[in-house]
């Protein structure tokens, strides 16, 4: 099959940023998820939390003003904006595990049709880093996964069952990839949006599980403000 151009990481991050409602508290994972922050209009009052013990940040520090005591969980230095609060690791996970975070945006290695997520270990490596991911997928009110739809070698990442070690069972609510936006519903994965030029059949051909066709499949929003 001849496929149209896929979207960029920035497009995925922008699309994910649209999912974050006004006044929400959000934890962004390392890498692609962390790019979301760039696309948030301040008026939306979205406040980010990081596992290492900070809430209320909105932007990264200027490279000339890096403070080792003001970092996010991805190791990026933050800008000192009004309304920050700090706390230790126990309290940080009270917040996460206790169900207080509205949305967790994470990267994914594999997602199953039931919403199982694998994102912490490539089986063959035999060792991996869990970090805060298992707490986040269990604790956040909503979990959004941002990732490429298939691997570099065109292997499926959206599957009947994950074969990498799981991060969590039935924990994913939405998947945003470089070609599609899917929602996890009871019956499986509902295809809601496709990237410009793509259609259901093309997306299905790159997906390891049957996608449910929404009656109104929209085009993926890629126009950034």
């Amino acid at each position: 099959m001849n496929y149209p151009k896929k979207l960029t990481k920035e497009d995925i991050a922008y699309r994910a940023s649209i999912e974050l409602p006004k006044n929400s508290y959000v934890n962004l994972g390392i890498g692609m998820p962390s790019l979301c922050a760039k696309y948030i209009d301040k008026k939306r009052n979205i406040r980010f939390q990081a596992e290492n013990g900070v809430i209320g940040f909105s932007e990264l520090a200027d490279q000339r003003n890096l403070d080792p005591n003001l970092m996010d969980a991805g190791g990026q230095f933050l800008s000192r904006v009004p309304g920050l609060a700090f706390f230790d690791s126990a309290e940080s996970f009270d917040m996460i595990r206790g169900g207080h975070i509205d949305i967790s945006v994470l990267g994914g290695l594999q997602v199953s049709k039931k919403g199982d997520l694998a994102n912490w270990m490539i089986e063959s490596r035999g060792i991996g880093s869990i970090g805060g991911a298992m707490d986040l997928v269990g604790g956040a009110k909503q979990v959004i996964i941002t990732m490429e739809h298939v691997t570099k070698n065109n292997e499926f990442k959206i599957l009947e069952e994950c074969n990498y070690p799981l991060t969590g069972e039935k924990c994913v609510n939405k998947i945003i990839t470089d070609i599609a936006v899917m929602e996890v519903i009871k019956q499986g994965l509902l295809l809601r949006e496709v990237a410009p030029g793509w259609n259901y059949e093309m997306i299905q051909s790159l997906t390891g599980t049957k996608l449910i066709k929404n009656k109104d499949i929209k085009t993926y929003k890629v126009i950034r403000s």
Partner: protein, 239 residues
């Protein structure tokens, strides 16, 4: 009935530690909140067969993670390179990228070190429990994953949970910004992380601080760790 000891040498502050002990290392990963000078002194002490407990295990030296000057990065790798570690308990042992391979991954591949990976929130809560007289607690974190292997499960109000046990250590090496002569500690920004809970969970808590000021000058509202949990303070410039 402990007496707080104040050192001006990192070496002296760790010189009586023995082979085979368990050591918690504070911070989160990266420069802020990491007791870097105490870690270097521990590496130089050459004590072996250590069980280390901490959030990370060596991601900064391969990736520059969390360091303002990435070339200066120091992390737990120094202990693996020096073959001091029997076991490490952590949440984030290795970076996602496989190259360059980190010292911990080498030590693990060479079977020199056992690595136990625990979800970060469960690790934090196990350590908090260790200092708080809570021997065990239930959490849903890790359910349905390999984390639940060999663990007791219990159904509470119709939902399944895992039993997790408290974690304690012989020694904690932690970092704070300011201390007073009673050992009261003030932290700065995101450099709290695992430091306050580790201070409570170890038999001997050794703290690296930027400065020690008289208690008359310390703000009681800002204290993150009361001196009751602190046994040793190290600072190059004391009161």
């Amino acid at each position: 009935m402990k007496e707080l000891k104040i050192f001006d040498s990192y070496k002296d502050a760790v010189k009586d530690l023995k082979n085979g002990i368990s050591i918690m290392i504070g911070g989160f990963g990266g420069e802020g909140g990491q007791p870097t000078n105490l870690m270097l002194a521990l590496r130089n002490s050459n004590i072996k067969e250590l069980t280390l407990i901490g959030n990370v295990a060596g991601i900064s030296m391969t990736t520059g993670y969390g360091w303002t000057n990435k070339k200066e990065a120091i992390d737990q790798s120094i202990f693996f390179k020096n073959k001091q570690v029997k076991k490490i308990i952590c949440s984030f042992p290795i970076p996602a990228k496989q190259k360059p391979i980190s010292e911990i991954e080498k030590a693990w591949k060479n079977k020199e070190t056992t690595v136990e990976v625990i979800p970060q929130g469960t690790l934090a809560e196990k350590i908090r429990a260790g200092g708080s007289g809570i021997p065990a607690f239930y959490t849903k974190t890790g359910l349905g994953t390999i984390v639940e292997k060999n663990k007791e499960k219990k159904t509470i109000n119709g939902k399944k949970y895992l039993l997790e046990h408290a974690l304690q250590a012989d020694v904690a090496l932690i970092k704070a910004e300011i201390a007073d002569e009673f050992g009261n500690l003030i932290y700065k920004g995101t450099s709290r992380a695992f430091n306050p809970i580790m201070a409570r969970a170890a038999k001997l808590t050794i703290v690296e601080v930027e400065k020690i000021i008289p208690s008359q000058e310390i703000d009681p509202e800002r204290i993150g760790t009361p001196g009751i949990y602190v046994n040793r303070l190290v600072c190059k410039k004391t009161i």
